[in-house]
Symmetry: C2
DNA sequence: TAAGTATTTGGTAAAATAGCCAAATAGTGT
DNA sequence: ACACTATTTGGCTATTTTACCAAATACTTA
């Protein structure tokens, strides 16, 4: 495999990795409704402030969100709403998996 | 946050995590063209056979691919082609990031 | 300037992931 | 049964990720 190809895959994987965490998924969902300050997101996620801040910096480094400091607070907003389309696909994978699970169960009887 | 909500996020994150690796991304791309046996995928990825096999089991456990043993070989196929749509979005995130990078560079001058 | 609030950063420990090798398993042909 | 090939599994180490706490920073208001 060529080096350029390798890097292309790595960049893509990094963005998916940034999304691949329950707390970060929740924040992305919430940010889809509009910008939120870190303190609001922290309440929603229910983790330590520093933990939430680090999760946000992961999303930011991936280029998925943008931050905007206003006074004491920092507001984050979603830069790429297209990621929301992932969720429908992901749900369909989960549904199909369930269906196969049930079918396998029937056969096992 | 409720427990059901927590689990929903966890299930979604697990599927994204399964995709979030360069080798697994490559395999998904290749499988989009049609089924492939492990040995073919191994050549494409260029890693140890056992490593490739484990990556495939991650994709399988996530419900993204299905395996089918025929003789000595095991053929894998993509179960959810909708994940291919992720790539366009991911590319757009990368492009937007580049563009912002260039703009920041201009300002810095 | 001092005190208070919101956020980030640094440090650290625990857990998850990734890679390779060697060994086990499964199917084929002799 | 034996040798041969394709794949998976187990074991190990190195790396990465995650979460929390404590300390640093940034901004506001008294």
């Amino acid at each position: 495999m060529k080096k350029a190809e390798q890097e292309r895959l790595l960049r893509r994987a990094d963005i998916l990795k940034a999304l691949a965490h329950p707390s970060r998924l929740l924040m992305v969902e919430k940010l889809a409704e509009g910008e939120r300050c870190v303190c609001e997101l922290q309440k929603m996620v229910g983790a330590d402030m520093s933990t939430v801040s680090k999760h946000l910096s992961v999303l930011k480094r991936a280029g998925l969100v943008q931050d905007d400091k206003r006074g004491l607070q920092v507001f984050y907003r979603l830069l790429s709403p297209c990621v929301l389309n992932f969720f429908t696909c992901v749900e369909s994978v989960i549904e199909a998996r369930k269906k196969r699970g049930r079918a396998a169960c029937e056969i096992a009887k």
